[in-house]
């Protein structure tokens, strides 16, 4: 499991994709490589490392350092091997007297302008300049440079104008220009890998320097998004993680998976002893291909934050102070209370909420707890509030509740539609991969009320931005379908073969109705009909068309309808079942996909099988030795309603802060307050814990084994790199609770839980930890039919048989603007923070976002006398809160926007209890509001903080 730090081999230049093979000879050895490969890479594949400085295989070769020179028989001079492609029959020499002398000369020049403080340098032992000096046999430097970049004062004691002091403004890495060799690897990484273009090389010759944009820009104030790609690419100590500077180099590493978003990046957790030194993106990770974002790469400090609670706590009433107790005492207290509730109010009076942040194995155990120990189906998950409509919509139309592609598919797409997603903030590593494809010429259509960064950023501009009025997704999607059908742009052959032609006829008749035309809905959606038509034509005729969507689709009263509409679009244009196309939900949290797969929803057992099916219940009844309830259980909003009504009394909530993340905070608070036993199992005393009777401390992803499943259905291993600081991994805590209630579970490792999942769930039948060790990761379904997993779904036919077209009638939400609440509020997230912010707020990421702000159009701000940065009162019919405003034309007049990362803002005091018709997924994305200047926090905010402070008291140990 633990391997020593052997840096992933650097082949110098990226792999060539050609199928054509070329054979050449390097130092007398025959080498066969794809056409287009560099000589440097060909040599590396034959095991010969040509010295190099400016080349690295994450970016295209640049050919500036001249260290990688080789000789080619029959050619003049000494070409750079990184920029010279292979050709059949070449005879290449990488080492001879002439080359040795040339290379030493190059190194001498570099070293004469480099401080010789290797022993105390932070990159000592991990520096390519050092390595190359060794490789070329540099033994002395014959001249002393008159002018340098590294001496603060020159030889005569004058200030050296070429000396630039270290820039420590970024909280996670430093930029120390004196060590820079101007190889431009960082600049190319920022452009090619990340796609932000924050770095440039300024000046020429001796004066050329790396710069964060304008002269006055520091790393922090520049466009830099702190992804760390440049730091990974830098061969010297110039761009260096601060943790390395503080701790030193790591000694061993463990491959694991980021616990933040649904991209599911693979990382190397680099350790010294049990101290985490740094996280570096893993080159062979199939979701991220060696890239990362600021959260996964740097924002892990919450794991050791002082706010983490490490001992269990209990209290009789939520008005008491918390009492720290032993695990035994906590379990006895909890089991006793829960049993008491069940005895008095029946087995349906309690339930669980599984976490989309915890592992598959942990989610599986939590739903098993309610189904096999509490004996009901009252299980739900935070996916309820984000992607439950995806499950319903894709299940109905295509037959599986999951995205159809892998992320690699984006490399082959020609036209991308992004609906209600903000990938550069929400799914940054996917966004970087998408931007790479867009820069190579793919076309982009964005459907979003707000001008998100992907609409316009360096070297990227969407062909169409349909800036619709919040709440009109169905109208737009149906108008796109109207255009495709009435203009005859659909793929008849595909529909006839893969779908039911008669059903399509009905559907075509429905969308063709004049009230569904772009012209008819123009007033409603606020999008010019011609734009809609042009976008529809581009998607239907532009080659491989793919759709990526997010919470801006699902979190509406018609969320499920929009998902159905999206699937209809893909089916009618034949954009499903091959690379470069498909329907792809971008999942919010790291394990939303997994928690849904694991049977967290109250109506279905693991693998999306309804509890009404006797055959499915049989499978679990046999293994669990219990009788499973055949009626669907309560969903989160239903649990809260039932609690207020008095029939739901006890809840075990793992890794989820429903008070902060669920809509209509006041209703949630009332529901929680009405319960007799609320068990919160989390890292921190979160907002929900204010209403809890039991607090069970949780463990971080660094402290346990398990698996996460990302948005491409990829099952990735999470590996324990240190012992749980709270004493137990989360799956062990659930087992303790189950056993305290008499369950008699005996799992000793999460691999046994996965074996039980594989045994009961056909799409996981082939999954086990041994195979994940070998394959790295696998996309479900993984079973006898597809032992290596399934990168693309619906290739030869839809999972449900024939694809199903379903009518998508637009029904306006009842959340309407009027004289009291004339503006529409929509919500979202930003890059540096994550969900309710419990983790990221406890890291240095707060330097980028220390509070939620309200975006408002200059016109609306002007009307109300609102100034940039001033406090405003934001009110809806559900409640009101206060926050600061920022004035921007990213939003249209009539629309305001905010994030919900900070509990003080309480944005969900504002959101209402409207929800998706099919799944009760709350309508976060549309709330009618009024905005007015204010002096500071609202009464509710102040009252709430006071209550929170009171309920967080922990009694002093006696």
């Amino acid at each position: 499991m633990k391997d020593f730090i052997i840096p992933d081999r650097d082949f110098g230049t990226p792999a060539a994709k050609s199928k054509q093979l070329v054979t050449l000879t390097i130092d007398g050895f025959d080498v066969t490589v794809p056409e287009g490969t560099s000589i440097m890479r060909a040599a590396a594949e034959a095991g010969i490392s040509v010295p190099k400085l400016c080349a690295t295989d994450s970016v295209d070769a640049f050919g500036s350092c001249r260290l990688c020179l080789v000789e080619i028989e029959g050619r003049n001079g000494t070409p750079a091997s990184c920029t010279t492609p292979v050709a059949p029959g070449l005879k290449v020499h990488t080492q001879n007297a002439k080359l040795k002398q040339l290379r030493r000369g190059v190194m001498e020049l570099y070293i004469s302008d480099h401080p010789l403080d290797c022993l105390t340098c932070s990159a000592n032992g991990d520096c390519e300049l050092q390595d190359m000096a060794g490789a070329v046999g540099l033994r002395d430097v014959r001249y002393e440079a008159v002018q340098t970049h590294f001496k603060a004062k020159d030889n005569s004691g004058h200030i050296n104008p070429s000396y630039i002091p270290r820039d420590d403004s970024n909280p996670y890495f430093s930029y120390d220009p004196q060590k820079c060799i101007v190889c431009s690897r960082c600049v190319r990484a920022c452009e090619e890998v990340q796609g932000t273009f924050a770095l440039t090389i300024e000046g020429r010759g001796f004066d050329s320097r790396v710069s964060f944009g304008a002269k006055t820009d520091t790393a922090l104030t520049s466009d830099c998004v702190s992804c760390g790609a440049c730091v990974a690419a830098c061969p010297t100590a110039t761009l260096q993680e601060k943790s390395i500077i503080e701790i030193g180099t790591p000694s061993h590493s463990v491959i694991t998976t980021c616990a933040y978003c649904g991209v599911g990046c693979s990382f190397k957790a680099e350790m010294r002893g049990d101290e985490l030194v740094r996280m570096t993106p893993y080159k062979h990770g199939k979701a991220n291909r060696g890239h990362s974002c600021v959260k996964g790469r740097f924002a892990y400090g919450y794991a050791s934050h002082k706010d983490r609670i490490l001992s269990p706590m209990i209290r009789d009433s939520i008005n008491d102070a918390w009492k720290e107790v032993s695990w035994d005492e906590a379990m006895a207290f909890t089991a006793n209370r829960m049993k008491g509730i069940i005895d008095k109010h029946g087995r349906h009076s309690v339930g669980v909420i599984t976490s989309s942040r915890c592992t598959n194995e942990e989610a599986y155990l939590v739903q098993k707890l309610t189904r096999a120990v509490f004996m009901n189906n009252n299980t739900d998950t935070c996916a309820r509030v984000c992607h439950s409509p995806t499950g319903y919509g894709l299940g109905q139309t295509l037959g599986t509740s999951a995205g159809t592609q892998d992320f690699d598919s984006v490399e082959q797409t020609d036209v991308v539609i992004i609906i209600g997603a903000n990938p550069t903030d929400g799914h940054p590593v996917f966004a970087s991969r998408l931007k790479k494809r867009l820069r190579k010429g793919a076309k982009l259509i964005v459907v979003d009320p707000r001008r998100t960064d992907i609409v316009e950023s360096p070297h990227i501009k969407a062909q169409h931005h349909l800036a619709l009025t919040p709440g009109t997704n169905v109208a737009i999607v149906t108008a796109l379908a109207h255009t495709i059908v009435t203009e005859g742009l659909f793929d008849e052959a595909f529909i006839r073969e893969r779908c039911d032609w008669d059903e399509f006829q009905d559907y075509a008749e429905f969308v063709s109705q004049p009230q569904n035309s772009p012209e008819a809905v123009q007033l409603l959606t606020g999008v010019a009909a011609e734009e809609v038509r042009a976008a529809a034509r581009l998607y239907a005729l532009g080659g491989n068309g793919s759709i990526y969507y997010g919470l801006g689709v699902t979190e509406h009263s018609q969320g499920s309808t929009t998902v159905i509409g999206i699937a209809n679009l893909a089916m009618m244009t034949g954009n499903i079942g091959r690379p470069g196309v498909g329907v792809n939900p971008l999942r919010g949290q790291n394990n939303v996909q997994g928690s849904c797969d694991m049977g967290s929803f109250p109506h279905e057992l693991p693998g999306y099988r309804h509890v009404k099916g006797q055959a499915v219940r049989d499978i679990f009844e046999k293994i669990w030795g219990v009788k499973i309830d055949d009626e669907p259980g309560l969903r989160i909003p239903n649990m809260l309603d039932a609690a207020v009504e008095g029939t739901f009394k006890g809840l075990y909530c793992q890794g989820e802060d429903i008070l902060q993340s669920d809509p209509d905070t006041k209703h949630v608070a009332a529901g929680l307050a009405a319960m007799d036993c609320v068990i919160v199992h989390d890292l921190f005393l979160n907002e929900t814990a204010n209403y809890a009777h039991v607090f069970l401390p949780g463990s971080t992803f660094l402290e346990k084994d398990g698996t996460f499943t990302n948005a491409e259905r990829r099952i990735n291993r999470v590996r324990k790199v240190m012992a749980p600081r709270n004493g137990y991994a989360d799956w062990e805590v659930t087992q303790l609770l189950a056993n305290a209630m008499g369950a008699g579970w005996t799992y000793t490792h999460p691999s046994q839980i996965m074996d039980e999942i594989a045994m009961t769930t056909p799409s996981f039948a082939g999954v086990n930890y041994e195979m994940l060790e070998v394959k790295g990761s696998v996309q479900w379904p993984c079973n006898e039919a597809s032992p290596d997993g399934t990168p693309l779904m619906h290739v030869d036919g839809f999972v449900r048989g024939k694809g199903k077209f379903i009518n998508t009638e637009y029904v306006a939400t009842d959340e309407k603007t009027g004289p009291r609440f004339p503006l529409l509020l929509t919500t979202g997230r930003i890059l540096s923070q994550y969900n309710v912010g419990a983790q990221t707020r406890r890291t240095s990421n707060v330097v980028w976002h220390d509070q939620d702000v309200l975006e408002i159009h200059p016109h609306d701000a002007d009307n109300r006398g609102i100034k940039e940065g001033s406090w405003v009162r934001l009110a809806s019919r559900a409640g009101e809160t206060s926050l600061r405003a920022t004035i921007t034309d990213r939003v249209n007049p009539g629309v305001v926007y905010t994030t919900f990362h900070h509990p003080d803002t309480q944005a969900n005091v504002i959101t209402t209890d409207f929800s998706d018709w099919a799944t009760n997924c709350p309508e976060y994305k549309v709330t009618a509001v009024q905005v007015a200047p204010s002096n500071g926090p609202s009464e509710w905010q102040e009252g709430y903080s006071a209550h929170a402070a009171l309920s967080r008291r922990i009694a002093a140990a006696e």
């Binding site: 429905f510 009404k612 239903n638 998508t808 009638e809 099919a918």
Partner: protein
């Protein structure tokens, strides 16, 4: 939505489903609505819906009334 009466929320939810199902042919709409409620509504919710239906179904859209016969009435014991 308005919170008049204990059943207002439930009536609202049933009507929301009805609005989606109304764009289907009537028999498919009835089938769709009843199986949706059978599959996703916990017995407590269906019991409350039946309280409304038994009292005449005031406030419910016609499709819900038409589909009522196919909505499973929960057994008395919890």
């Amino acid at each position: 939505m308005s919170h008049d009466g204990p059943h207002a929320k439930l009536i609202y939810m049933a009507n929301q489903i009805a609005k989606f199902m109304e764009s289907k042919p009537h028999d498919q709409g009835i089938e769709g609505l009843s199986s949706h409620i059978n599959d996703f509504w916990e017995p407590r919710m269906r019991r409350q819906l039946y309280e409304v239906l038994d009292a005449g179904g005031a406030g419910l859209r016609p499709l819900v009334l038409d589909a009522a016969a196919l909505i499973r009435r929960p057994s008395i014991a919890a």
